[in-house]
């Protein structure tokens, strides 16, 4: 009898599996329609530092390795082969040797070889004096400062030689920002007509109108991609594009484009839409030019840091969904998150009323008062996601006798302005390509980095940054990272106000997309995405 039951159960299970297969099978074909919020500056991921380029063009390229696309959290422990099929470190952890996939072709039919990998990193590490076809811009050059050399061992093996051990190096290779470029295509063509090995081929990019990619029939990953094409329509007006999504014109919104107040509208008008809220690993932060008087006085910077009411920012901007944390992304999504009890002890994170009273005392000591406020300009990018927190910042600074005036700056001028340090106080957003302290610390807090907009430079902290970067024991490294973060907070290096959380929505017939919860810059390959219609 018991055997009979088992047999029946087994048959039922087998039957249900058989029946379930057609329902689960991915349907090939169809065009995925996505709206884009603005015109990407170019199609060259290596030259840009924006999701506007990264999201539409990642599907054209491949990396050497990638974060596991099925996992929501990018982690160094979950890295998968891409163009590299396997890899190994030498005993000293300074030599990374990778075996490359054979038989892969670029979209123009030429074969992919180790020479292309060498060329890519030659471009990424080029010096000013180097000749030849160079990148016009190289915003992440600082990522590769520990890379000594890249050599090809025949056609299908490469070795990365590092100056010292760097456990994050593999994660940097897995970033969406690190595709491999073909040697035979110029940097100029990569900006306008990119050639990759990825699942989709570039067809055209019409300025301010559209981007079109089509399926790469020779893609090395057999059976992928499922889609025939991806069409991006550029719709700069947010109300229009959200209405267009609600009307069913698009299968997917631009990443993190749906704010929490907008989410209510979307859900009311398109109740079947699937929306996922997630941290973007983009943080809103206060930047203060330490070279411009009176902000060269650390006391004023300290007072400004103490004036911040982070919870108010979160409540106003995202109905309380934004996360509070130190420099790295908070838990549970953040791999390097500082523990809660440690966070509470950081300057500016305790009782707001008490902090502000202390800040006012500092300002009064410097000769400022309600009748004699410090008048400043608060520069920010002229888009809502920057302007809104800047307005709140101005309001909060009033509490400590600082009278701010908003200075909106056109998007294309913003980075140049702050990089030149042509500002006093600013409200900035900083996105991390990889949830790793090396990316954050080297880009934003080291003396020579051009993206260190505040001019913060502390040789002791730099030593600590280098030490954590070389630490192979993850738990030990975490503690070192928190120590760096504590020191950065004490120095008011670039106070993080909130870690942003936003929504991405799609129509229920779109399947197979896994959003990454600790970086918006990864997993936009779309090779597992399919349309159930």
């Amino acid at each position: 009898m018991r055997l009979h039951r088992v047999a029946v159960a087994a048959v039922s299970l087998a039957g249900s599996v058989v029946l379930a297969v057609p329902a689960l099978a991915q349907k090939p074909g169809g065009t995925l329609r996505i709206y884009h919020r603005d015109m990407p500056p170019s199609a060259s991921i290596l030259e840009e530092a924006t999701i506007s380029t990264n999201m539409p063009f990642m599907a054209v390229y491949n990396n050497l390795v990638m974060f596991d696309p099925k996992e929501k959290i990018n982690s160094i422990d979950k890295i998968e082969p891409d163009l590299a099929t396997s890899w190994s470190w030498d005993d000293g952890k300074t030599k990374l040797t990778m075996k490359l996939r054979e038989g892969v072709k670029w979209h123009d039919g030429k074969p992919f070889t180790a020479k292309d990998v060498v060329c890519t990193w030659d471009k990424l590490t080029a010096e000013e004096s180097d000749k030849g076809d160079r990148l016009r811009k190289n915003p992440r050059r600082v990522w590769w400062q520990n890379l000594k050399d890249v050599t090809a061992n025949g056609n299908y093996e490469v070795t990365f030689q590092l100056n010292r051990p760097q456990p994050s190096f593999l994660a940097l290779l897995a970033a969406g920002y690190t595709p491999v470029y073909p040697c035979h295509v110029s940097a100029r063509d990569m900006r306008t007509k990119p050639i990759g090995t990825g699942p989709f081929k570039f067809v055209e990019m019409k300025r301010n109108e559209s981007i079109r990619l089509v399926k790469n029939p020779d893609y090395w990953k057999k059976g992928h991609p499922y889609l025939d094409a991806i069409e991006w329509r550029i719709i700069p007006n947010r109300s229009t594009r959200i209405l267009a999504f609600v009307a069913g014109e698009f299968d997917l919104t631009f990443d993190s484009d749906v704010t929490f107040p907008l989410l209510k509208d979307v859900k009311a008008q398109a109740p079947n839409a699937v929306c996922e809220a997630r941290p973007t690993n983009v943080n809103t932060n206060l930047i203060v030019n330490r070279d411009a008087a009176p902000f060269d006085n650390p006391k004023i910077r300290e007072a400004m840091m103490l004036a911040l009411d982070r919870k108010a920012f979160s409540d106003i901007l995202s109905q309380g969904h934004d996360k509070l944390g130190a420099s790295m992304l908070p838990a549970p999504e953040g791999v390097w998150a500082m523990p809660e009890d440690m966070l509470k002890e950081l300057p500016g994170f305790g009782d707001v009323a008490k902090n502000r009273a202390e800040a006012r005392k500092i300002m009064e000591g410097l000769g400022y008062s309600a009748d004699k406020p410090l008048k400043i300009k608060v520069a920010t990018r002229n888009i809502a996601v920057y302007r809104d927190p800047a307005a709140i910042l101005i309001d909060q600074l009033k509490q400590i006798y600082i009278e701010g005036e908003l200075e909106p700056v056109d998007t294309p001028l913003w980075h140049a302005k702050v990089a030149r340090k042509d500002y006093m106080v600013g409200l900035n957003l900083t996105g991390l390509g990889v949830d790793d302290p090396d990316v954050n610390f080297y880009e934003n807090f080291t003396c020579k980095s051009e993206r260190n907009y505040t001019g913060y430079c502390n040789p002791d902290v730099e030593k600590m940054i280098n030490a954590q970067s070389g630490e192979l024991d993850k738990e030990k490294r975490k503690k070192m990272v928190w120590e760096v973060e504590r020191k950065l907070a004490e120095d008011g290096a670039r106070p993080v106000i909130v870690h942003n959380v936003a929504n991405t929505c799609w129509q229920p017939h779109m399947k197979g997309l896994v959003l990454q919860h600790n970086s918006i810059y990864n997993n936009w390959r779309f090779d597992d995405v399919w349309l159930d219609k």
């Binding site: 080029a126 016009r136 811009k137 301010n208 329509r233 109300s239 056109d410 294309p412 001028l413």
Partner: protein, 315 residues
Amino acid sequence: MAAYLVHRTFLMILTLFGMSVLIFVLLRVVPGNISDILFDSAGFVNPAEKARIEQELGLDQPIITQYWRWISDLAQGNLGYAYVTERPAAEEIAPRIPVTVKLAVLALIFSVIFGVPLGVISAVRQNTPLDYFLRVLSLSGLSLPSFWLALLILMAFVHYLGFIPIYTDPPDSFWKEIGLLSVPAAAVGFRSSALIMRLTRSSMLEVLRQDYIRTARSKGASPGTVNYDHALRNAVLPVVTIIGIEAAFLIGGLIVTETVFNIPGVARFLVEAAIWRDYPIVQNLVMFIAIVVVFANFAVDMAYMLLDPRIKYAD
């Protein structure tokens, strides 16, 4: 007449010269230039590439040399190079002009075919409920900001009809395109039609009180003949002037409308190019718009002669 034409043409050339200087200087007064912007994102930039672009744009030359170079290139039909997309500027501008022209013409047609007859009706039915309704309608046309009206229209379409009349796919036929553009044309033409309606009404009321209208009526002319043949023909002169001015002003309204309806036209493109300080695109597009405006005014002056034979220009 010939002397007037020569005088008018000379004035046109002078105006265009003044415009070209203004456009050129203003673009260089605003902070930031294309080479800074192209290399903006911090990180390691390629200085040789930056120097090459500055040289190509003539940014290393005195401003007068730069101006002369632009004007002589323009005269030869060379619109330069769009550095943002790395394509010739002419290739970027050319496909957008017909889209905006179609939209502007449709909007103008909309404003005239609604504005003039409704203005006449409002004047003829003065102080009746219909007149009050039309006056409120025209007042709301003047008061509603274009972007708000455009968004209301989009919301209504999505809510009641389940689709959105925006330019997501290029239409595959002329009539489909006209159909698609008619909704934004109505949105942008609503304000112009309100203005035309009010002006037609006041002009008609003035004419309808003239003696010759009374005479026409006493001779037994039908109301239609009186209103349209006698009154409207004389009342239409100021309306033509305003139509000419509105044709020029439409471009301002189109910036918002093209943005909200996502139309790949010149107006939206111009704003984006200005933000990027894409000199070749902005200079040439603004110059193009200036030429259109100057010619529209010229056409209005010429239309005066046709509409009112009493108007003579001294030889």
